[in-house]
C-alpha cells in the first residue's frame, strides 16, 4: 500500500509501497516479487538515499544473533537500532566502535552509509570494525562478504547506500569500556584559526568535535566550542558513580510536538541561539564527567527535532575538504554568512586518514550545516558545491537530496569502479533509489 515517507530532513516526501519482513523466507519472497526496491531502515539519513516508490524496510528484522562478551563481538540482524544495542552491551562493559550523532539508526544503515563519529581520526569509520556481513542480492542469492572474502562486494557495500544488495546480518567488533561515563573537556575557541589549532593540539583525544558559530563576523569569525572526550576509567569517576560504573542513563526524551512554521528559523533566532549556546560556556575550559548519552547524542533527547525546520523540511549539507584547504573552509563560511541563510547547527570535525572505495570520510575538515528548504536554497548550494570541488572536497551521500551527478563524480575518484561493481551485483538496477537514479549510480532497466 502506498504511504508517504520521508527521511530525517523531511525533504523530499514521496509515496512509497513500504514492505516489512521478520523472517528470511519472507525477505526472499519480497525480493523475488519486487520489480524494484531500495532497502530502508529507520529513515535517519537526511535526503533521498533510502527513498523509492518501493522500499523494503528492515525494522522488524531486528534480532541479536550472538554476543561474545569476552571478546566483544556482536552479530545481529540489520534492522536492529543502535539505541537497543547500547542497552545491553554497556552494562556488559562494551560500547559501539563508532557512533554517529544519533543512536536511532539501524546497523544496516550504519554500514550502508559507513557512518563516522567523533573518533574518526583514531578509529576510522564503522566499516573498519566489521568482521563479516551477509547480503541478499538483487537476484535473491544470499552472499557473505568481509575484508577477506568477496572483497569487492564488501568495499562497495560499505558506504554504498544499499545499492549492492540488502544487508541482512552484520558481525562487528565492539569497544571495551570500564564505565558508561565520558571524561569531557570543553574548550572555547575565539575563532576558526584557534579551533583548528586546538584540533591539532588535542588530536590524541579519542573523541573530538566542534560546534561552530558560522554567522559571526570579524575577529570572532568561526568562534567555536571544541568538545573532547575519553571513556572514563572507574578511578576517574566521582564517588557517587563508582557503585554502578556501567549504569545506563535514564530514559528521558521530550517530543517535539509540531512542525514549526519555517519563518521561525530566521537569522535572528539563529544568532540568538548561537549567542546563548556560546554564552553558556562562559569559561575558557570546562572539565567534567558526563554520561555517554548527552556526550554522543545531545539531540536525541528532543525527539523529532527535525520538525523545528517546518513542514518544507531542511537540507543538511556535509562536505569534507583536504587538510591543505583550510582556506576553502573560510570561503564557504563567508558565503553562508553573507547569504544570511542561517544554519541551526554547524559541526566541525577533523577526519583521519581513510581511503575507501565509496565511503565519505577522507582526511581533512568536515563541516555539517542545516539549511531550511526555501526559495533559492538549491541554487545557493550549487554555488557551495563549486567551492567544495575547487578545493578538492566531496559531499556526503547520506545527507544529500539535491547534488548533481557531476559533483559526485568530481568528488569520488573511484566512482567508476563503484558503478562497475553495482553493475555486476545489481545488473538490471532492481535495487535503486531516487538518489541512485539522480546520481546515475544504477543501471537503467
Amino acid at each position: 500500500m502506498e504511504k508517504k515517507i520521508a527521511n530525517w530532513g523531511n525533504y523530499p516526501v514521496m509515496e512509497s509501497d513500504e514492505r516489512f519482513f521478520s523472517f528470511d523466507d519472507q525477505l526472499q519472497k519480497l525480493v523475488k516479487e519486487s520489480t524494484h526496491f531500495i532497502p530502508r531502515g529507520n529513515g535517519r539519513c537526511y535526503g533521498d538515499a533510502s527513498l523509492s516508490s518501493e522500499t523494503i524496510n528492515t525494522l522488524k528484522y531486528d534480532k541479536v544473533l550472538s554476543f561474545d562478551k569476552s571478546n566483544g563481538i556482536l552479530e545481529c540482524q540489520s534492522g536492529l537500532t543502535l539505541d537497543k544495542i547500547l542497552e545491553f552491551i554497556v552494562p556488559a562493559g562494551w560500547f559501539l566502535p563508532v557512533t554517529p550523532g544519533t543512536k536511532f539508526i539501524t546497523v544496516g544503515g550504519a554500514v550502508g552509509s559507513d557512518v563516522h563519529g567523533k573518533n574518526h581520526h583514531i578509529d576510522g569509520s564503522f566499516s573498519n570494525h566489521i568482521v563479516d556481513m551477509e547480503l541478499i542480492l538483487a537476484d535473491g542469492t544470499i552472499t557473505v562478504c568481509s575484508p577477506e572474502q568477496n572483497v569487492q562486494l564488501f568495499d562497495a557495500t560499505c558506504g554504498g547506500m544499499g545499492l549492492t544488495g540488502l544487508i541482512t546480518k552484520v558481525k562487528f567488533r565492539l569497544k571495551k569500556i570500564e564505565t558508561s561515563y565520558i571524561k569531557q573537556k570543553q574548550l572555547k575557541a575565539k575563532n576558526l584559526d584557534e579551533v583548528i589549532r586546538f584540533f591539532d593540539e588535542y588530536n590524541h583525544y579519542t573523541y573530538s568535535v566542534a560546534w561552530i558559530d558560522c554567522l559571526k563576523k570579524g575577529e570572532h569569525f568561526g568562534r567555536s566550542i571544541l568538545i573532547l572526550g575519553e571513556h572514563a576509567k572507574v578511578d576517574e569517576l566521582p564517588e557517587k558513580y563508582k557503585a554502578d560504573p556501567l549504569k545506563l542513563p535514564a530514559k528521558k526524551s521530550i517530543p517535539f510536538p509540531i512542525n514549526l512554521p519555517s519563518w521561525v528559523l530566521n537569522s535572528f533566532t539563529v544568532k540568538l541561539f548561537n549567542f546563548l549556546y556560546y554564552g553558556k560556556n562562559f569559561k575558557k575550559e570546562i572539565n567534567n564527567v558526563v554520561s555517554y548519552e548527552p556526550f554522543f547524542y545531545p539531540l536525541d533527547a528532543i525527539l523529532n527535532w527535525n520538525r523545528g525546520y517546518g513542514k518544507k523540511g531542511f537540507i543538511q549539507y556535509q562536505f569534507v575538504l583536504p587538510l591543505s584547504a583550510k582556506q576553502g573552509l573560510v570561503e564557504i563560511l563567508h558565503r553562508i554568512s553573507d547569504e544570511g541563510l542561517g544554519s541551526f547547527l554547524a559541526v566541525l570535525k577533523v577526519f583521519g586518514k581513510q581511503d575507501s572505495l565509496i565511503s565519505f570520510p577522507t582526511e581533512g575538515y568536515t563541516l555539517a550545516l542545516d539549511f531550511p528548504v526555501r526559495k533559492g536554497l538549491f541554487e545557493f548550494l550549487d554555488e557551495l558545491d563549486k567551492i567544495v570541488l575547487k578545493y578538492g572536497g566531496r559531499l556526503y551521500m547520506s545527507k544529500d537530496a539535491r547534488m548533481k551527478p557531476e559533483v559526485l563524480k568530481a568528488g569520488y575518484p573511484r566512482l567508476d569502479e563503484f558503478r562497475q561493481i553495482i553493475k555486476q551485483y545489481n545488473p538490471k538496477g532492481k535495487i535503486r533509489s531516487t538518489q541512485s537514479d539522480r546520481l546515475l549510480l544504477t543501471p537503467q532497466p
Partner: protein, 243 residues
Amino acid sequence: MSTVLILGATSDMAVAIARKMAEKGNNIQLAARNSNRLQALQSDISLRYQVDCTIHEFDATDFNLHLSFYQSLSIKPDITICVFGYMSDNIIAGKDWHETSKIINSNYTGAVSILNIIAEDYAAKKSGTIVGISSVAGERGRQSNYIYGSAKAGFTAYLSGLRNRLYHDGVHVITVLPGFVNTKMTAELKLPPLLTASPEQVADAVEKAIRKKQNVVYIKWFWKWIMKIIKNIPEGMFKKKKL
C-alpha cells in the same frame, strides 16, 4: 522469577510482549507453528535480557496435539499469554469456507482448546495467570469485519467466563482488547495514526495488566470510550451504517 509461555510467538505483538516480559526478568517459552522461525528471537531474548528462553512447536489449529504439547513442557509456565490470531478480508472469507474456518479456528476454537487444558492445570495448582489477546472487533459485529469479529467475540466471552470460574481458584484471567495495531498483519490497511498503537504499547499494557491484576484492558484509553459509543448505537441505526 516466573516462566511465561507465549502462544503464537512469531507475530509482531508476540515479539514485543516476549521482550517486555523478558526485560522484567521472566524466563520465556516461545511457541508457534514453524518453530525454526523462532531461533533468532530465542537468541535475541536470551542474549539481551539474560533469561532462559526455549522454543516449542505449536499449531493453534491442530487441536489433537494441544494436550501433548502442554504435557511436553518440562517446566510449566506461571503465566500463559495467548497471542495467536488470524485476520483476512471479510469479503473473501464470506465466499470461502476454508478461509472462514481458518479465522474461527485460529481466533476462537484453537484458543479455547489450548486454554481449557492450561486452565485445568492452573485450577488444580491454584495459581497462574492467563492473558488472552482478543480484539475490539469482537465488541460489535460490523459489516467490514464480522467473521473475524464474531470469532473474537466468542473468545472475549470465553475469557470472561474463564475469569469468573478461575477466580475462585486464585487464578487470574486478563482480556486484552487492542484496537488498531501497527503490525505486519495490518501493513496493508490504512490506519489512522492517532488511533493506532505500536506492538510495544500493547506489550507495556500487557505487562502492566499482569502486574496490577487488571481484568479487561484496552490499548490507548480512548478505545474504551469509542467502543462504549459504538456498542450503544441502536441496532436500527447501526444496521444502516457502513462500518
